[in-house]
Amino acid sequence: MLFCIGLYGALTRRNAIAILMFVELMLNAANIAMVAFSRYVTPVVLTGQVFALFIMVVAAAEAAVALAIIISIYRSRQIIDADKIDLMKG
């Protein structure tokens, strides 16, 4: 449920930082699914929790890089509206 809210939010926001926030929400929702499956299906082996930890690491790393990109775009062009960042559009 959280995943779908995050998906809807990520697809419909114009502000690039808001998009990033909803992507983080989606990643969190996927993590919950991992941990929940780990608890009910394989509670001894804890595979889901290990995977959830790795997803957390990857999500934090990509959040840092994504924010760096957004801030550098803002520095050079003063906008964070994702509709207007269209230099590569044909």
């Binding site: 809210i5 419909t12 983080e24 509670p43 001894v44 924010l67 801030i71």
Partner: protein, 161 residues
């Protein structure tokens, strides 16, 4: 008792996520995201995953939320910055479809629910899984290289020329 707390936390998480969609103020959306992170940590505790819960609060609330708020403070227009773009109807249809698909697939799968009780202090077990032999040591090393690459990338991107 775990079930009730799970449902309460899940309710708060979904409520905060919906609030993120409806609020106009971007800073309030960021604070609602922090609420989401905390409640997801609570959901992990309700699922008997204590180490993951603490790691979640430390990493997400401590680092990612701070980064998001930092980025919001550095890019100015707070008050009216959280409005939807033109893709509203299509995105709603896609999200509803994905939601329906997920609910159906979860409902109709016959899960092999294991009767074993969850391992209670998960830290030692997780440490054994990650670092002992036959464990996931290589992904740990690769994750550290990934973090290094992302930190270096962020620094290079934000250098003042």
């Amino acid at each position: 008792m775990y079930d009730l707390s799970f449902y309460i936390m899940a309710l708060f998480a979904v409520g905060a996520a919906l609030g993120m969609l409806c609020t106009r103020n971007l800073f309030r959306a960021a604070l609602l995201l922090v609420v989401c992170f905390f409640t997801v940590g609570g959901i992990y505790v309700a699922l008997s995953a204590d180490f993951v819960a603490v790691a979640q609060v430390l990493v997400y609330v401590g680092a990612v939320a701070v980064l998001v708020i930092l980025a919001i403070m550095l890019t100015r227009d707070l008050r009216q910055a959280n409005f939807p773009n033109r893709l509203r109807l299509g995105a709603f249809i896609v999200s509803a479809l994905v939601f329906g698909l997920m609910v159906m697939s979860i409902y109709y799968t016959r899960w092999k629910v294991s009767p074993a009780p969850p391992t209670e202090p998960t830290t030692a077990a997780l440490g054994a899984r990650l670092f002992a032999e036959n464990g996931y040591l290589l992904p740990v090393e690769i994750a550290s290289v990934l973090i290094l690459a992302s930190v270096l990338g962020a620094i290079v991107l934000l250098r003042e020329k």
